[in-house]
């Protein structure tokens, strides 16, 4: 009996063992996954010359490739990973922006501005990893999904008339890119809340705690961005899975109560600020799920040059003196907290001075001792942010609602002068500028009217334009796309591109509800492929690099967006389509009626002739009939005379007609059912 039972026990034991093994294995996988899924939160603060402050929140989460981990995630938002798997998105960027980045006073030649300054409204581009003919379907589904995820009307981008296919001018240059913008989309807290839901701690802990809605939307510019990169495990040996980068860039005006108090002579002093004064909140410790959580304060190159640190003069020794206290408590400003580390930028070719980065670790702080950083200015300072090589602006020319011209003008900035003086030794110095312009179909651009002006002198198009790609707009089908590479001499002061257009007319049901407000033309993208905005900071340990700083090190070309233009289109009279229809029909009726009348009219003599002829030819029955009808007309009180044959004849004719009409009706019904 025992022997008989043994195998069962054995089996049971083996089974348990295997099950335990599986359990352990699964646990290890689980731990591994946890190790690979990372989340980090960072905040960068940067004072601007025009008394404003930039707050740049950077949240980054990464997930392992889906093949090794199934579809389960610990930190990474499931919605995003499903989206990537479903539509095979290789790279995607979605941004919601309100306000316009002021390139002149906030700069345009640093990684923050060239990758975070976005056009107003919604901008979406995506690179797909699907065959060419499936891309449009994927894009359509993606826009609908994102529209649901972010409570925005991104689904308007599904129609082919709103998105375009950049050939080469757009940074992730390949044929699989789709690019679309909604310039008039209003961005508000309803878009921010779903965006925050993607964070593991939401806005309940960590740096995201600072995102106080009233203070955010009081700002001059805010842009929330979602950047997504996924690498297929099969395509490359080293895979990083999906990297989701969420940034929120806000430009705020610090409450300068102190500035008002001080008298007029100190008007130019920069306002002092602290996190609690800007956001009305403090950071009470990090988000426990975050790998790293830090706050940075960036002092611009121009500002550093202006501040004149004591160690600045003897170049190299500045790096040695970094840790010395005089860096953060110096005659011109005072920091309210001690920075944990100070980074100095690696020397670059373009500029003389180097920017400084103060780092604060949030981990050290807690609920009882919240983190707050303040900057108190002691002396007034004025400096300039580093600007793009050429400042781009765009405007309309002409008046009236029939036609006009779009002009993109490029003006040299102080940077170009410096660049020019640096490169003046070699004679042939060229400045390449890429222009990417999408126009909706109702702005019908005449590409043959493209003119180029350099220093206000008209120049031959072939001299200046190195490369051009045009895909003309199709009515209600696709927008017009113009991609141009300009090759300008370095000493250029101004350059301008003009293109003429006709304004289209929409069908009455295609106008939006507020048709008289006008239609938006999306921003043009001006990029400078020869220039790369990157900031490399000297770091001790390259292993434990912060995602924000490694982002700064990436070489991205300098890019800037032009203004959104508002084009007024002619509107029909919305109140009276009915009147138009009736009047037109009346005119047609007049035409048909009068022409038929003329064609059919017979003069009296002809009529008599025909009657006589008819009388001769026709037999007895019709004659009788006509006589009868005359009689009937003459005396109606004698219906007894009517012969049965004639009445039956009339009836048969009537019946025939009725049958004909019924047959027609039946046929109609049959055809259309």
């Amino acid at each position: 009996m025992v022997l008989l039972q043994r195998p069962h026990i054995l089996l049971l034991l083996i089974g348990t063992h295997q099950f335990l093994q599986c359990w352990i294995a699964f646990g290890s996988v689980n731990e591994e996954g946890q190790k690979q899924e990372e989340f980090s939160e960072e905040l960068l603060l940067k004072p601007f010359p025009d008394h404003k402050l930039l707050a740049h929140f950077h949240f980054q989460s990464s997930a392992t490739p889906s093949t090794s981990n199934g579809c389960h995630h610990h930190l990474f938002p499931k919605a995003i990973s499903q989206l990537v798997q479903k539509f095979r998105v290789k790279e995607m960027e979605l941004s919601f922006t309100q306000g316009r980045w002021n390139y002149e006073s906030w700069g345009g030649f640093d990684p923050i501005s060239s990758s975070n300054a976005k056009p107003p409204g919604v901008e979406l581009w995506a690179v797909f990893d699907v065959p060419q003919h499936h891309i449009d379907a994927s894009w359509k589904n993606l826009t609908h999904t994102l529209s649901g995820l972010f409570c925005a009307s991104i689904n308007f981008l599904e129609s082919t008339a709103t998105y375009s296919t950049p050939e080469w001018s757009f940074p992730p240059a390949s044929g699989n890119v789709r690019y679309g913008t909604l310039p008039c989309e209003a961005v508000c807290t309803e878009n921010l809340t779903p965006w925050l839901k993607l964070l593991p701690c939401r806005d309940k802990a960590g740096i995201a705690l600072l995102l106080d809605r009233p203070s955010l939307y009081r700002g001059f510019y805010h842009s929330q961005r979602l950047h997504l990169t996924s690498t297929e495990s099969s395509s490359e040996g080293i895979d990083s899975g999906i990297i989701l980068e969420q940034t929120l860039t806000v430009v705020l005006q610090p409450n300068s109560e102190r500035a008002i108090e001080v008298h007029a002579s100190e008007k130019h002093i920069q306002p002092s600020w602290s996190l609690s004064s800007i956001f009305g909140k403090q950071v009470s410790g990090r988000c426990v799920l975050a790998k790293s959580s830090s706050v940075y304060l960036l002092l611009d190159r121009g500002l550093v040059a202006e501040l004149k640190f004591p160690n600045k003069e003897n170049g190299k020794s500045a790096a040695n003196g970094l840790t010395s206290e005089n860096f953060w408590s110096n005659p011109s400003f005072e920091l309210s907290a001690n920075p944990d580390r100070i980074f100095l930028e690696e020397s670059s070719s373009h500029s003389k001075s180097l920017s400084i980065l103060y780092m604060f670790q949030v981990e050290k702080y807690s609920e009882s001792e919240p983190f707050d950083i303040g900057l108190m200015w002691k002396v007034p300072v004025a400096w300039l942010c580093q600007q793009t090589p050429l400042h781009a602006s765009r405007f309309f020319m002409g008046n009236g609602n029939e036609r006009g011209a779009i002009a993109i003008s490029l003006k040299s900035t102080q940077f170009t002068e410096g660049f020019m003086s640096a490169n003046s030794k070699d004679g042939s110095c060229e400045l390449r500028v890429e222009v990417f312009q999408v126009v909706p179909w109702y702005v019908k651009v005449y590409f043959h009217s493209l003119r180029v002006f350099v220093d206000q002198q008209p120049r031959a198009v072939s001299d200046i334009i190195e490369k051009i790609h045009v895909s003309p707009s199709k009515d209600k089908m696709s927008p017009g796309v113009m991609e141009v590479v300009l090759k300008l001499p370095c000493r250029v002061n101004t350059a301008a591109l003009t293109v003429e257009f006709d304004k289209g007319f929409l069908r009455i049901d295609e106008y939006p509800p507020d048709a008289n407000q006008g239609f938006d033309i999306p921003s043009a993208i001006i990029s400078f492929p020869n220039f790369h905005a990157s900031m490399v900071f000297l770091e001790d340990d390259s292993l434990n690099k912060s995602p924000l700083l490694s982002k700064f090190q990436e070489k991205c070309p300098v890019m800037s967006y032009t203004e959104v233009l508002l084009v007024p289109l002619t509107t029909p009279d919305f109140s009276m389509p009915y009147n138009v229809i009736t009047i037109t029909c009346t005119v047609f009726a007049l035409y048909f009626g009068s022409l038929l009348n003329v064609l059919q009219r017979r003069v009296a003599e002809e009529e008599r002739f025909l009657k006589a002829k008819a009388a001769k030819k026709t037999g007895r029955l019709p004659l009788l009939l006509s006589k009868l009808s005359a009689k009937l007309r003459g005396r109606r009180r004698e219906p007894l005379h009517s012969p049965p044959s004639s009445s039956s004849f009339i009836n048969s004719k009537l019946v025939l007609k009725v049958i004909l009409v019924a047959g027609l009706a039946l046929g109609w019904q049959y055809v259309f059912s």
């Binding site: 008046n399 009236g400 609602n401 029939e402 036609r403 179909w441 019908k444 005449y446 590409f447 043959h448 009217s449 051009i468 045009v470 895909s471 003309p472 707009s473 199709k474 009515d475 209600k476 089908m477 017009g480 006709d502 289209g504 007319f505 929409l506 069908r507 002619t570 509107t571 029909p572 009279d573 009276m576 009147n579 138009v580 229809i581 009047i583 037109t584 005119v587 047609f588 007049l590 035409y591 048909f592 009068s594 022409l595 038929l596 003329v598 064609l599 009219r601 003069v603 009296a604 003599e605 002809e606």
Partner: protein
């Protein structure tokens, strides 16, 4: 006596022709081209010069000229006239060559109208002769009808504006007139060529095939056979030789053969010029398709832009049959009526079209119609300005003038048709000898 009269007439004719050409050249030299080329009355999406230039530019940069929805004309026109949009003589306005081409086209069409008119007059006289009615109508002023028609065509402000405004309609008009001329003078290949080219350029002249068939089948102007029969009934004289020829199928088969040949030729040429850009199907889609599905809704002087319905394209076809039955013995007049109806119900009409039928018309203008045309041509720019440029008016301002224009054309067509029918009636009455009933 008559010779002297003729001489004086022809002398003044040439004077007028030269004067009108000089006037055109002066207008061409005006700076900025008087902004005529962008007037909606002159250049429609189908005939605009700027669109032609855009199409040529696209073709030059190795893209299909139909890539955008800019150009909707024929590829042949593009290869013939396209280079003229770029080439320029130093110091001259850059549209000079193109304007010269349209002036030449205008003059050629005027000459063709003159020749057609003379042909018609001869045929008319012959047919009157055959009816023994010459004496009664001898004094009428049919003598210089060709000259007068040609002069009306040349000096018509609409023609001048269409010519100076750089639209392609002078060329399209020339093709139509070429077709009619060929049919009148029984040059069958020429008629077929004109018909094929006109249809290729603007589709609507396709319906001219009916008058052309009548022209070829029965001759340019023949009184109805019934009249002869009536006359012979009356006088009891039968002269078989003087009977007008019956409808003959020979020339029509000939015409069909040539039309087929020419259309194959044109299609092959188009196919060659569009070989690398999607071929013929794209051409059909963006030329004929564009005409039939009114895609461009920019206002023009037609009535349809405000009414955007496709249903009304059938309209043109509605009246063809009744008119053909009734005016079958006067094919030229039938052609005129067709052209007028087309220009009225077209989806993208322009004054160039009305210039064509006004040229074909050799009838006295009534003062009412004249005032109407003048009023429309003055009011429509004003209304357009008010609506589009100043923004003070709305679409109905401009639509009203378009409405009036359409009404005028309707009145013109109807009056014309009834005048012709009355004329026939009078002839018949003269034959049957009942002058007292002529007016009724």
């Amino acid at each position: 006596m008559e010779k002297v009269k003729k001489k004086i007439g022809s002398f003044s004719f040439w004077n007028w022709v030269i004067a009108s050409i000089i006037f055109r050249l002066i207008l061409i030299y005006f700076p900025k081209n008087l902004n005529l080329s962008s007037r909606p009355e002159v250049s429609t999406p189908l005939t605009s010069f700027r669109r032609l230039a855009e199409g040529y530019w696209l073709k030059q940069s190795s893209m299909s000229p139909y890539a955008g929805s800019m150009y909707h004309g024929s590829p042949l026109l593009l290869s013939l006239l396209g280079p003229l949009t770029i080439n320029r003589i130093e110091g001259q306005p850059n549209h000079l060559l193109y304007s010269l081409v349209s002036v030449i086209a205008d003059v050629v069409s005027a000459m063709l109208i003159r020749a057609t008119g003379q042909n018609l007059r001869l045929a008319y006289l012959r047919s009157l002769e055959s009816l023994h009615l010459v004496k009664q109508i001898e004094v009428s002023e049919f003598l210089f009808s060709g000259d007068i028609a040609a002069l009306i065509y040349l000096c018509n402000p609409f023609t001048i504006v269409a010519c100076v405004g750089l639209s392609t309609s002078p060329i399209e008009n020339m093709a139509v007139i070429l077709c009619l001329y060929g049919a009148c003078s029984r040059l069958i290949p020429l008629a077929a060529f004109g018909w094929v080219i006109a249809t290729h350029l603007s589709l609507y002249p396709a319906i001219l095939i009916i008058p052309v068939i009548f022209l070829l089948g029965c001759g340019p102007d023949s009184p109805p056979r019934k009249l002869f029969l009536q006359r012979h009934q009356q006088k009891e004289v039968l002269n078989q030789s003087k009977l007008p020829p019956r409808f003959s199928w020979g020339p029509i088969i000939h015409f069909a053969f040539w039309a087929f040949l020419w259309s194959v030729y044109v299609l092959v040429l188009c196919g060659i010029s569009l070989k690398q850009f999607g071929g013929l199907w794209e051409m059909f889609k963006s030329t004929y398709g564009f005409i039939l599905t009114v895609e461009d809704l920019s206002p023009n002087i037609g009535v349809l832009w405000n009414f955007f319905l496709i249903v009304f394209h059938v309209n043109i076809l509605f009246m063809i049959l009744p008119l053909a039955i009734r005016l079958r013995h006067r094919p030229c007049y039938l052609a005129f009526v067709y052209v007028a109806i087309c220009s009225m119900l077209k989806s993208y009409p322009s004054v160039g079209d009305s210039a064509l039928y006004l040229g074909l018309l050799d009838m006295q203008f009534s003062l009412f119609l004249f005032c109407g045309y003048v009023g429309v041509s003055l009011l429509s720019p004003v209304m357009h300005n008010l609506w589009i440029w100043r923004g003070t008016g709305n679409a109905n301002f401009y639509f009203a003038t378009a409405m009036v224009y359409a009404c005028l054309q309707i009145v013109l067509v109807v009056e014309g048709v009834s005048a012709m029918l009355n004329h026939d009636r009078k002839l018949r009455n003269l034959i049957t000898g009942k002058p007292q009933d002529a007016k009724s």
